[in-house]
Amino acid sequence: MAFLKLTFSKNKRDKLAQVLWILNWVSVVTGILLFSMGLFLKVEINKRVELMAERDIQYVPNMLIAVGLIACAINFLGGKICYDCVDTTKFLRWKLILLPYIMCTFFFTFCVLVGALMCYSMHGELEESLNLGLTEAIRFYKDTDTPGRCFLKRTVDLLQIEFKCCGNNGYKDWFQTQWISNRYLDMSKKDVLDRLRSNVRGKYLMDGVPFSCCNINSPRPCIQQQISNNSAHFNYEHQTEELNLWMKGCRQALLEYYTHIVQSIGLTVLITWLFELSVLTGVRYLQTSLENGLRQGDLNSESDGWLLENGLMETARINLNIIKNIGKCNQIDTANNGDPNIDVPSSSIAH
């Protein structure tokens, strides 16, 4: 009892082949789309690689790029096969390749699904990476004279301006690090020395933030220094002041940005997966109906097409047996003929 059997006349088969040819070319285009989305994600991640700690997040865009390229190749081949299936002589060329092609494509669609799911699972790793990366960046903000870190200040400033954020979780992160280099501190002044002595690690900490934290929408010129001191500024209350600095943390801002990109990509990959699956179903029907037509001896008559020759359970059982017997190919079957190494006298004694 075949699984999901359908009958195909010659006309229907030809139309199916033509439609599948067009759909395969559409799939090539979606493969290119996947490739370009993977490339875009890779470029976006590399743009801010200085703010991300070493974590395994490059695997997502790499997977998308690989899947996109393989999809292009597979669907290109599929298009060629379907185009040739209309013509009997050309179909015979592809007869032997068709079943392996379908199996490869079936496993490939699994890869596409895995790619889509990876997009959604990236969130946790990304957050970890950004958290650590931003903490480091804020710590090394002042090191504009250290090779390898001299552009970190510029990167962090431009990030805070572009993403409208301040610090890792909030602006208070800047209160806990020394972001003014010692080169610019007058060590002979009393209040500088007081500040340095006021904490265990001897760092110059202050309740001030860099200029890039300033909020453009504030009606008041930006207050960057002595933020927690209400009396230092006229008509100012730091607990209720919301428009002076950017309130969002940069980790949150970057995470939202990347999540948005990755979720849109994930949705597109899921839709591509469904499309690929439907094209594969069509190709399977085409293959089985053509092979049945060949078996009947007349390709111009009606033939049946199905997804599986026997039902689901039967097919599973048969495949399991095949897999079991693969392991036994080196073993000798002693059941019927006995061990051929031992001389068994023949049963007929009559001479």
């Binding site: 504009t144 510029r154 003014i180 610019y184 007058d186 860099p210 200029f211 453009i216 010129p221």
Partner: protein, 359 residues
């Protein structure tokens, strides 16, 4: 004496029509590109509308938009004419339209040339407009509570950060203006009172700049107050410090940006002018060749194509005479209803009078 005569065989005529058809479709595409360029330029100018005093510079994108649309229409008509030119039954209906087509196409070329000229000539006006606009923007920076000016601060801050510039000519423009609103000044403080009394207008002036002037590429955290006082900051020299703030003025930055934008449209406009002129020349040859062949009534034969039937001087004379006749006709016409019958009688009398001496 014909101007630039070329002989056209049937084969040549066909090639000319096909080539001209392709060229006119290319011109349609280029016209669309010019239209898009004009729209883009206009949008960019409108985005910074608040720091510009007048809209004189808008004439450049306006002309580009009009020319783009007109060029699409004109060249589309040209392609239709080319398609019909080899068919003797369909070509005559385009004859009258072609008389009007040539002046329109010539006007388009002139407008395009004027755009190129204007984009250079209006640079001075653009700078003036920006100077006044930015001066006002800086002056009203503090008025975030005045309706109509409350977004001036945000506009100027965004502008300075995006274009990496500070002030009108340079950052010292901020020293001459009170950019901290009185709402945030503590009038009981001695320092504030001193500053206000230190100048004639009673304004709170300081040698400081807003945060948007800060340069992120500076190795040092931004210094934006007491800039002229070397002792106020450690290891700081006001005269030689270059990286702390943006050194460019916003007027210069914006002028450079818009000039670059208009100059980059230059090659596109020039190629459209060239293509349009080739279309005009080709169309003239095609028109005269096809009309010649229609006069001969032999579709397979040879005909002449030319630019002008008579020489340049003679054609100008002809045009002058025609224009005068049209003018006279137009001037005489309103009075014609009263005077024409009298004139006709006079003419009749003259005619009757003249043969009598002969007979």
């Amino acid at each position: 004496m014909v101007l630039l005569k070329i002989k056209f065989t049937q084969q040549r005529r066909v090639h000319l029509a096909q080539g001209l058809w392709l060229l006119s479709w290319t011109a349609v595409i280029w016209g669309a590109i010019i239209f898009c360029l004009g729209v883009y330029l206009k949008m960019e100018l409108l985005r910074r509308d608040e720091v510009m005093d007048n809209t004189e510079i808008h004439v450049v994108p306006n002309i580009l938009i009009i020319v783009g649309l007109a060029s699409i229409g004109t060249n589309w008509v040209a392609s239709c004419v080319c398609q019909d030119s080899l068919d003797a039954t369909r070509f005559p209906r385009w004859k009258v339209l072609l008389l009007g087509w040539f002046p329109v196409a010539a006007v388009l070329c002139c407008l395009l040339i004027s755009v190129v000229v204007l984009s250079f000539a209006l640079q001075g006006r653009l700078e003036e407009s920006l100077k006044v606009g930015l001066r006002n923007g800086i002056r009203f920076y503090k008025d975030t509570d005045v309706p109509g000016r409350c977004y001036q601060k945000e506009t100027i801050d965004r502008l300075q950060m995006e274009f990496r510039c500070c002030g009108n000519n340079n950052f010292k423009d901020w020293f001459e203006v009170q950019w901290v609103s009185s709402r945030y000044l503590n009038f009981t403080s001695k320092d504030v009172k001193d500053r206000i009394r230190s100048n004639v207008d009673g304004r709170y002036l300081l040698d400081g700049v807003p945060f948007s002037c800060c340069n992120p590429s500076s190795p040092r955290p931004c210094l934006r107050y007491t800039l002229t006082d070397n002792n106020a900051h450690f290891n700081y020299e006001y005269q030689s410090e270059e990286l702390n703030l943006y050194s460019r003025g916003c007027r210069q930055a914006l002028t450079d940006y818009y000039m670059e934008l208009m100059n980059s449209t230059g090659p596109g406009v020039l190629s459209v002018i060239l293509i349009q002129m080739s279309v005009i020349l080709g169309m003239r040859y095609l028109q005269t060749a096809v009309e010649g062949i229609m006069a001969l009534e032999d579709p397979e034969g040879e005909s002449d194509g030319f630019l002008l039937e008579k020489g340049v001087k003679e054609t100008m004379e002809d045009l002058k005479v025609k224009a005068l006749i049209m003018l006279q006709f137009w001037l005489v016409d309103p009075i014609a209803s009263e005077g024409s019958s009298e004139d006709a009688d006079l003419e009749k009398a003259e005619k009757e009078a003249s043969p009598t001496p002969a007979s």
